[in-house]
């Protein structure tokens, strides 16, 4: 079935690209091999074919040739179909090669490969007179970014933001084991410090919200038609995620004793370091909030001791007692 279908779809593309006039379904049926005699079966098949062509991004136009036509026809505008002329310099071709390898996920890795193929086909790279993508011939810029999308929610959320559709999903908040049902108008997907987030208008909470993709539980479902989500003009999705996930400013000061030759993770940020006798240094350092910094200091075990402030000292002692509890 597949080969005949491919042949039929290809014939339709060639036919409709070659005509300036709109061709009716009947005219297409007469010109193309493979459609059935039976009228209903033909109509069903033709509808599926049109949908498939449009899904591939083929700009199938519908219209009437003149006022007396009763049935609309179809054509493909060559200008809308064809990839415009594009030529790359050698350094641009090298960068393109890197960009095409960035995505590690099925969804967009395939799309990047498809784009590369079209650009090669257009002669932008790899044709006579155009630079190649062969590693041997290129100066290697030596940069290899990678994007992984292990979260199954990425694919449907990308489609939702692309097509501006609302979605619904179940969500497990941070440090929670219970799941809540959410309905979201997604404004954008952000990768921040290696993690994927989606931000938008949460219809359930009637407020702007950020969700981490790895905490979405189960499938993401489209809950409305395409183009039904409006992204506010002033929405800055990157800022939303950043504010949601950024540590507080370091505006407290701690005084610590740090064992000589240890506690490098603290020393890196030290404001002052003075020897304190017996193989210890006295260090002052800025920190943001007590609970987080107490966790951090506890991780150094017997290499770091808190002198002050008292609440930080108590918090570290309580962590350490917790380990022994």
């Amino acid at each position: 079935m597949s080969k005949r279908r491919t042949e039929r779809l290809l014939s339709i593309v060639v036919l409709l690209l070659s005509t300036r006039r709109y061709l009716t379904a009947e005219q297409i049926r007469n010109a193309v091999h493979g459609y059935p005699e039976q009228e209903d079966a033909f109509k069903r098949m033709f509808e599926r074919d049109k949908e498939e062509l449009r899904d591939l991004g083929i700009p199938l136009e519908t219209g009437l040739n003149n006022a007396i036509d009763e049935e609309p026809g179809y054509r493909i505008s060559r200008q809308d179909y064809e990839l415009p002329e594009i030529r790359l310099e050698a350094d641009e071709a090298a960068v393109l090669g890197i960009a095409a390898r960035v995505w590690q996920s099925a969804e967009l890795a395939g799309a990047a490969a498809g784009a590369l193929l079209k650009l090669r086909a257009a002669g932008a790279v790899g044709a006579a007179g155009a630079p190649g993508l062969d590693d041997d011939q290129q100066p290697r810029p030596g940069i290899e970014p990678r994007l992984t999308t292990a979260e199954p929610a990425f694919g449907p959320l990308w489609e939702a933001v692309r097509d501006r559709r609302p979605v619904s999903f179940s969500y497990k908040g941070q440090g929670r084991s219970d799941v809540t049902k959410r309905e979201l108008e997604p404004w954008g997907v952000v990768n921040w410090r290696g993690r994927w987030y989606v931000a938008g208008h949460d219809r359930t909470r009637k407020a702007t919200r950020v969700f981490r993709l790895s905490r979405i539980d189960g499938p993401v479902k489209m809950s409305g038609p395409a183009r039904s989500v409006t992204v506010p003009a002033d929405a800055d999705v990157r800022e939303l995620v950043k504010n949601w996930d950024t540590p507080l400013p370091r505006d407290h000061e701690a005084v610590l004793r740090v064992r000589a030759g240890g506690g490098y993770g603290v020393r890196r940020y030290a404001k002052t370091v003075t020897p304190d006798g017996d193989g210890w240094d006295r260090i002052t350092v800025q920190f943001a909030d007590v609970p987080w910094y107490a966790d951090h200091l506890a991780s150094f075990g017997p290499d770091v001791m808190v002198i002050g402030p008292p609440d930080l000292r108590e918090a570290v002692i309580s962590r350490l007692k917790g380990v022994l509890a």
Partner: protein, 321 residues
């Protein structure tokens, strides 16, 4: 595409055919083997594609074959391509996949002029569908790594050796070494120098936001021919046969551990608590992790590690007596 057992759909094949014809046309004549490699298909599959294109026949108004081609002697020539001599425009997914990746590249410090020019060209070629790409943003921003990243890029470009002082979190140590740079990697939002470490005599990754000091030396880098790139395709945390297994019980405030660290298994054990089995190349990391989690986590195996964590905590507490 290749390597997958899933049959190719007619849509995927049509996309390939619509690229294949212009691919040959722009090159005038091209070998079967090269073309098959470029499209990720076997030569046999390619010949099937060519036959299919060649067989296309329109019945009306007069029967004719719009596309004429040959592949005699292993050389493909398309003598008549009619309306499909140019490739189809980029689809929204295709344009976005490239543009999002390029904007991520543009964030890496250093000379980005080729990236900027390429972004402009792809945006122009893609037209309206390029707009969807702005819905996805990538932020790679180790603020204290930016200057270091620019230095590493310069060293890579000039083929020079690097001297660096680097913080090893798991061991809480600063180490010094000479490194011959191989690549700058950006993985999971962080930037790494991959290089041949002359101290360890092996390929190592160094997280740039943990570089304490970096000097580009006036010495040519010498990466041995035997040095192999680290395989980062599946992410950085890849279990290795030499990893140790550590079993932890986590209460609700420590559940994030299961998201952040590679776990062999994660089991709900009631009241929101989890039992996880972590794989780690260095149990000192887990020791530090357990200390910071306090009462929210318990190492349950191996027993020696559980004991070491308790000993660390007791020694630390004795400082306050």
């Amino acid at each position: 595409m290749s390597g997958s057992t899933r049959p190719v759909t007619s849509a995927e094949r049509l996309t390939r055919l619509l690229a294949l014809v212009p691919y040959v046309v722009t090159r005038k004549v091209v070998g079967l083997a090269d073309t098959a490699a470029a499209f990720g298909v076997t030569e046999r599959e390619l010949v099937d594609d060519l036959n299919l294109v060649w067989c296309v026949e329109l019945k009306a108004p007069e029967p004719y074959c719009p596309i004429d081609l040959s592949y005699e002697g292993g050389e493909i020539v398309v003598s008549q391509a009619e309306s499909i001599a140019r490739p189809l425009r980029l689809a929204a997914d295709e344009a976005s996949a490239l543009l999002v990746a390029l904007r991520m590249l543009a964030e890496v410090p250093g000379d980005g002029s080729a990236v900027a020019r390429l972004i402009a060209k792809i945006e122009a070629a893609a037209g309206a569908v390029a707009a969807a790409s702005t819905q996805v943003t990538i932020q790679i921003d180790p603020p204290n790594g930016r200057e270091v990243a620019a230095q590493v890029r310069a060293a890579l470009a000039d083929g020079r050796r690097i001297h660096l002082r680097h913080y090893v979190w798991g061991r809480d140590e600063a180490t010094e070494r000479d490194v011959d740079p191989m690549r700058l990697l950006v993985v999971e939002g962080r930037t790494y120098l991959e290089g041949w470490c002359r101290r360890a005599e092996g390929v190592r990754l160094f997280r740039l936001d943990r570089v304490l000091d970096l000097t580009v030396l006036d010495v040519a880098a010498e990466v041995p021919a035997s040095a192999e790139h680290v395989d980062v395709e599946q992410g950085l945390f890849r279990p290795s046969a030499s990893d140790e297994r550590v079993e932890l019980e986590l209460s609700v405030p420590a559940r994030w551990v299961a998201e952040k660290y590679p776990c062999e298994s994660v089991t709900e054990i009631g009241d929101g608590r989890l039992r996880v089995v972590l794989l780690t190349p260095d149990t000192r990391k887990v020791r530090r992790l357990a200390l910071r989690l306090g009462e929210d986590a318990r190492v349950t195996a191996p027993a020696a590690l559980a004991e070491a964590v308790r000993a660390d905590a007791a020694a630390a507490l004795s400082l306050y007596d």
